[in-house]
């Protein structure tokens, strides 16, 4: 853990060396998600509600997903860039070092410019929390916290799965974007708006809906079932098969040599 903090501060310092570039990129990250927000805002100024969800309610959903995604992208960036580690042979160096693979991949890269996205998410949450008409009791606050933590777990699992697949193919990886970027992009809205089939897919195959749609139902008072609050924790269970697949890939990994 101490070593992790050392790595963290080292990477942070090295990224802050190019200060202008760092802030420009962070501002760009902010702008990217800000335009996404504008898209939602303008659609709602035309239609007012979607599937019975109001603008502030959708914003809660949006900001939870964005928070989880930006935190994951910042700290688990190494898995996102994993195909590069394989291609460049850097993975061989990692394998001969006396530390866990996961630890080393996590510390190989971090993207602190994602602070831009994170900031946007926090601003939206700050707007939505007082405006969505929810009475903020302790368990409702806990629900939002669980949604965010569960979201981080799901996105991290997806990144690990992505890294696992890259042991077998590097070219065909683009389809994984459906799940990672797709969850972020389309998870702006509660996943029920896409109809039942999509909702089922994102419940049983990729558990994105478990961290946004179902707990949101409890949060905004559409359902009184308290169990919905705990569903985001299943995101952690999803990590197991993803990690298992990564292990499997790692075992069958053959280096291309020097």
């Amino acid at each position: 853990m101490k070593l992790y903090v050392r790595y963290l501060s080292m990477l942070l310092k090295s990224q802050l060396q190019y200060r202008a570039s760092f802030f420009m990129t962070a501002a760009g990250q902010f702008l990217v998600s800000f335009t996404a927000f504008l898209g939602v805002y303008f659609l709602f100024s035309r239609f007012h509600s979607v599937e019975g969800f109001s603008f502030p309610e959708v914003l809660i959903c949006f900001s939870v997903m964005l928070t989880s995604f930006s935190v994951t992208e910042c700290f688990a960036r190494g898995f996102d860039a994993f195909p590069k580690l394989i291609r460049s042979g850097e993975l061989d160096r990692i394998l001969v070092r006396p530390k866990g693979v996961i630890f080393q991949v996590l510390t190989s890269q971090m993207e602190f410019t994602r602070i831009g996205r994170f900031l946007q998410a926090v601003l939206m949450l700050g707007y939505a929390v007082p405006n969505c008409g929810v009475v903020w009791t302790a368990d409702k606050i806990l629900t939002v916290v669980l949604m965010i933590i569960g979201g981080i777990a799901v996105f991290t699992s997806l990144f690990v799965l992505y890294a696992g697949i890259s042991f077998f193919t590097i070219e065909g990886l683009e389809f994984m974007n459906i799940f990672t970027d797709g969850s972020r992009e389309f998870g702006k809205y509660p996943l029920s708006v896409y109809g039942e089939t999509v909702l089922k897919f994102f419940t049983y195959v990729i558990p994105t809906a478990l961290v946004q749609y179902y707990p949101l139902l409890y949060l905004v008072g559409r359902s009184d079932d308290r169990r919905l609050m705990l569903l985001p924790l299943i995101g952690f269970v999803f990590f197991l098969p993803c990690y298992g697949f990564f292990r499997y890939g790692l075992r069958s990994y053959r280096s291309a040599g020097s």
Binding site: Y18, A20, S21, F23, M24, T25, A27, G28, Q29, L31, V32, F34, T35, A36, L38, G39, F42, L43, S45, R46, F47, H48, S49, V50, E51, G52, T169, E171, G172, L173, E174, F175, N177, I178, G182, F186, Y189, V193, Y194, G195, V198
Partner: protein, 267 residues
């Protein structure tokens, strides 16, 4: 002329090699297009009267967007060009008896077109057989069918002419990442990739047409769907041509200035 054609050919053929990537891309595009249409269906159900275009037209718009994504994607840049500017490799290119601007322009066209060629047919073929309001329909009428390819080409050239300015900015900043992401996010919104322009508020639309971005994918797709009347369509195409000429002129000025300032260190 011949040299540029061969630059085009090399890049185009190289781009065609990535078949597996293309299939993965196509799968992504089905999912992306499908989910986008489902999202708009939900909005349609909550307020059909506020829907600014026919649902069929919207579906066509979304599928065209997916089919021609590689032509109009705003985030794609050829890293070789950035590397050659920041790394100094551009010195070799300047020694060649051909024009830097034209060469890079042609290379960009080739990479993007090679991707479109692999992807647009499968995407459109599946979108064509989807049930009625969700698939891609035929062009609105004969005129639209005639104007669409011309406008598509114009829009494509406008986009490349604009991205040339971003490439050339690397001569001045030497670290293009920041400008690149800023430009991408602005373009993504203002060209109608995020939300089609007719869905944005009335007051914002004139602003968008005063910028070059609306002349990229927006105009040809709206012409195809028949959202624009014939006179408006011709007007918008004139606007596309105007932006193309302006951006080409700006790129030209910038490249001349950059070539004067360029210093290459060491041998």
């Amino acid at each position: 002329m011949k040299q540029y054609l061969s630059f085009f050919r090399i890049r185009f053929l190289a781009g065609l090699q990535y078949r597996a990537a293309a299939w993965a891309g196509i799968a992504t595009q089905y999912a992306w297009g499908g989910l986008t249409i489902l999202l708009f269906r939900a909005f349609y159900q909550s307020g059909a009267n506020s829907f600014p275009m026919e649902f069929r037209a919207l579906s066509s718009y979304v599928w065209l967007q997916q089919a021609f994504l590689a032509m109009f994607m705003t985030w794609f840049y050829d890293n070789d060009i950035f590397d050659s500017i920041t790394g100094g490799g551009v010195a070799y290119e300047l020694c060649r008896p051909c024009d830097l601007y034209t060469m890079w322009f042609v290379k960009n066209m080739a990479i993007r077109l090679s991707r479109v060629v692999l992807r647009c047919v499968p995407v459109l073929a599946v979108a064509a057989v989807l049930p009625a309001p969700y698939g891609v329909s035929l062009p609105a009428d004969g005129i639209a069918a005639l104007l669409f390819p011309i406008s598509l080409l114009l829009g494509f050239l406008v986009l490349i002419a604009f991205s040339m300015l971003i490439y050339l900015s690397a001569f001045y900043t030497l670290s293009p990442m920041g400008i690149r992401i800023l430009a991408t996010s602005v373009m993504e919104f203002f060209c109608g990739a995020l939300v089609p322009i007719p869905f944005l508020p009335e007051w914002l639309q004139p602003v968008m047409y005063a910028l070059p971005f609306a002349s990229m994918q927006n105009t040809p797709f709206l012409i195809y769907t028949g959202h624009l009347s014939r006179t408006v369509a011709l007007e918008r195409m004139g606007l596309q041509l105007l932006w193309l000429l302006l951006l080409l002129a700006a790129g030209r000025l910038l490249v001349n200035d950059a070539q004067k300032r360029v210093t290459v260190q060491g041998g």
